[in-house]
């Protein structure tokens, strides 16, 4: 374990931006899974409309969070050296690809905007996020990425 903290490049007053942004897309994608399940069980269009907004907002906010994260990743070689860094980056890029596909699936009208593929992709997104999120937390709480000296 290094006895110094890898430095965040995208930061405001020494506060790394990336960890401030990531909760938003995560909440959107988890929410979309819940509203997809609600639509699947009820066929009530309101839930699938919620899903459309949540998935779309998740993609947009996810891209913004990813930009901040990539700046950190590229900005300090000591970050790239951490074991969880690569799976975190690649995993989250996959999350964004899956969520983007899911966004288009959710533009279908009525039932097939969710069942079966919208719901499946929403679930895959959340499962992937559990893994990539774990890697992200490891980088901060175990490898002290962006933590002040």
């Amino acid at each position: 374990m290094a006895d110094f903290s890898p430095r965040s490049t995208a930061r405001i007053a020494k506060h790394p931006i990336h960890p401030m942004l990531v909760p938003f897309p995560i909440a959107c994608f988890v929410g979309a899974l819940l509203t997809d399940i609600a639509y699947w069980r009820s066929a009530e269009m309101m839930w699938s409309n919620f899903s459309s907004w949540l998935v779309s907002a998740g993609v947009v906010l996810g891209i913004i969070a990813a930009i901040a994260g990539l700046v950190d990743f590229i900005g300090d070689r000591n970050i790239r050296k951490q074991a969880p860094a690569w799976p975190h980056v690649i995993g989250n890029l996959i999350v964004l690809i899956v969520a983007t596909i899911n966004m288009f699936v959710h533009t279908h009208d009525a039932w097939t905007s969710v069942v079966p593929w919208g719901l499946t992709l929403s679930a895959v997104t959340v499962v992937l996020l559990l893994f990539t999120g774990w890697m992200g937390w490891a980088m901060v709480y175990r490898h002290r990425v962006g933590v002040a000296e």
Partner: protein, 452 residues
């Protein structure tokens, strides 16, 4: 360790792409012949749903000086009136005066999903020059008493209407179908303007949403009943079943009392309501559902049976189930009637008129002219023309043929788009063009000589 994570990720990605590729087939080679979907037994491919649905709508450019549509041999076309504001429907009064219904959609459809924002943008490109922002939602009267194709009188007949579409006259009672009400006005032969504010005979399903807003109208041959086309409030129930109450139907309204009932339903967007002259059966042209692929579902024309159910939303073309509708209704699907005659997919028929006059060449007698507004959700344009469907003994007989084309220019931009069609007192075919803001008049090619 890094490498292990890496491999897991890549395997996962490959699996996902494979899965989504299976679920969402890519656009197939577009070698499908749209003419195979013209006639009583259209070829119906398997439904497809796209990741990136094809959206291709002709950009509106309007007609330049001297440009006009192309007509079939033996015919000639001239503008009867230009500079109109989004003309959608035509009605010929007994004295030969032509009513032009100029109409704009109510524009009350809310943004419910991010998709609605994108769709709104695409549609605004298409209708860009449809109306120059001037006065619309009115009826203009054209009087061409000497029949030379140049109206001597042009007046605003009725104004300040609410997205009007259908018009019908019974004796001295004139009816206008606004998007939200069926209005009654007194009319005297020769009137060029109606100042009476009118009385509603019945309300019609308008907002909220009002997705398909055009209310087609026809009076029964004996004049006692009115038939109103009421389109669905969505493509395929994506606004919820509650929004579809009394919609996707043809209403029968008692003219004396305003009491109404559903005459037939399961008709997604019925327009061009008209009675077939030999059998007296009610016919309509129907805009079918979108986003099941470029070649589904064919729009159609059909005789409409009392109490008939024609499938929407649960099924199309008889018993073909639409996977997008839940909960399904097998009881209704079982009794869904197969329509009489397909017009090809996404051609968007909005007007129909039977020709009983002798003016046009004999082969056009007895059949129906259909105005096809044109496609927006397939790569290759379909429609954007007026076709003729020959009839024999009150049934379509043979393939529809092109009568008026050339609404798209060489760059596939829309100079015009046909909507309502009518036969005028002289027997000429009239076409409302809501992008070119023109009413076109089609006559036999040799008629000029005859008149002179």
């Amino acid at each position: 360790m890094t490498r292990a994570y890496f491999r897991t990720g890549l395997t996962g990605l490959a699996g996902l792409l494979l899965a989504s590729a299976c679920a969402l087939p890519a656009a197939s080679a577009d070698d499908f012949d749209p003419m195979s979907q013209v006639g009583p037994n259209p070829v119906l491919p398997e439904p497809q749903q796209y990741l990136f649905p094809p959206m291709n709508i002709a950009k509106a450019v309007g007609w330049k000086e001297g440009e006009k549509p192309t007509v079939a041999p033996g015919l000639k076309i001239e503008a009867l009136a230009t500079g109109l504001e989004h003309p959608r429907f035509l009605y010929v009064l007994p004295n030969g005066d032509v009513l032009v219904v100029e109409s704009q959609g109510p524009g009350v459809e809310p943004v419910k999903r991010p998709k609605d924002l994108v769709m709104g943008l695409v549609m605004s490109i298409a209708t860009g020059s449809g109306g120059k922002g001037g006065e619309s939602n009115r009826v203009t009267l054209l009087r061409d008493a000497d029949g030379d194709g140049k109206p001597e009188t042009r007046s605003v007949f009725l104004e300040h209407l609410s997205s009007p579409f259908g018009v019908a006259l019974v004796g001295s009672d004139l009816y206008v179908a606004n998007t939200d009400s069926l209005m009654h006005y007194p009319y005297k032969e020769g009137d060029t303007k109606i100042t009476d504010p009118g009385k509603p005979l019945t309300e019609l399903p308008g907002g909220p949403i009002d997705h398909h807003w055009t209310k087609s109208l026809v009076a029964s041959p004996d004049g006692s009943l009115l038939y109103v086309g009421v389109g669905s409030n969505s493509n395929i129930t994506e606004n919820g079943m509650q929004a579809e109450k009394n919609r996707a139907a043809i209403w029968e309204v008692d003219r004396a009392t305003g009491r109404w009932r559903i005459f037939a339903d399961g008709l997604r967007n019925p327009n061009g309501l008209t009675f077939e002259p030999t059998t007296g059966a009610l016919w309509a042209v129907i805009n079918e559902r979108d986003e099941l692929g470029p070649d589904l579902v064919p729009d159609y024309m059909t005789s409409v049976k009392d109490g008939g159910f024609y499938g929407w939303p649960y099924s199309y073309y008889g018993q073909h189930i639409d996977p997008r509708v839940q909960p399904q209704r097998p009881d209704l699907v079982a009794k869904a009637i197969m329509p009489d005659y397909a017009l090809s997919s996404h051609v968007a028929p909005l007007g129909m008129a039977f020709n009983t006059a002798d003016s046009l060449p004999a082969k056009y007698k007895g059949g129906a002219f259909v105005g096809e507004h044109g496609s927006w959700d397939r790569d290759k344009f379909n429609g954007y023309k007026v076709v003729f469907v020959p009839f024999k003994d009150g049934k379509p007989e043979g393939k529809a043929e092109d009568v008026v084309t050339g609404f798209l220019d060489h760059n596939l931009a829309a100079r015009g788009r046909p909507v309502g069609v009518a036969i005028d007192k002289s027997g000429a075919l009239l076409i409302a063009d809501d992008v070119g803001n023109t009413v076109w008049r089609v006559t036999p090619a040799q008629q000029t000589a005859a008149v002179k």
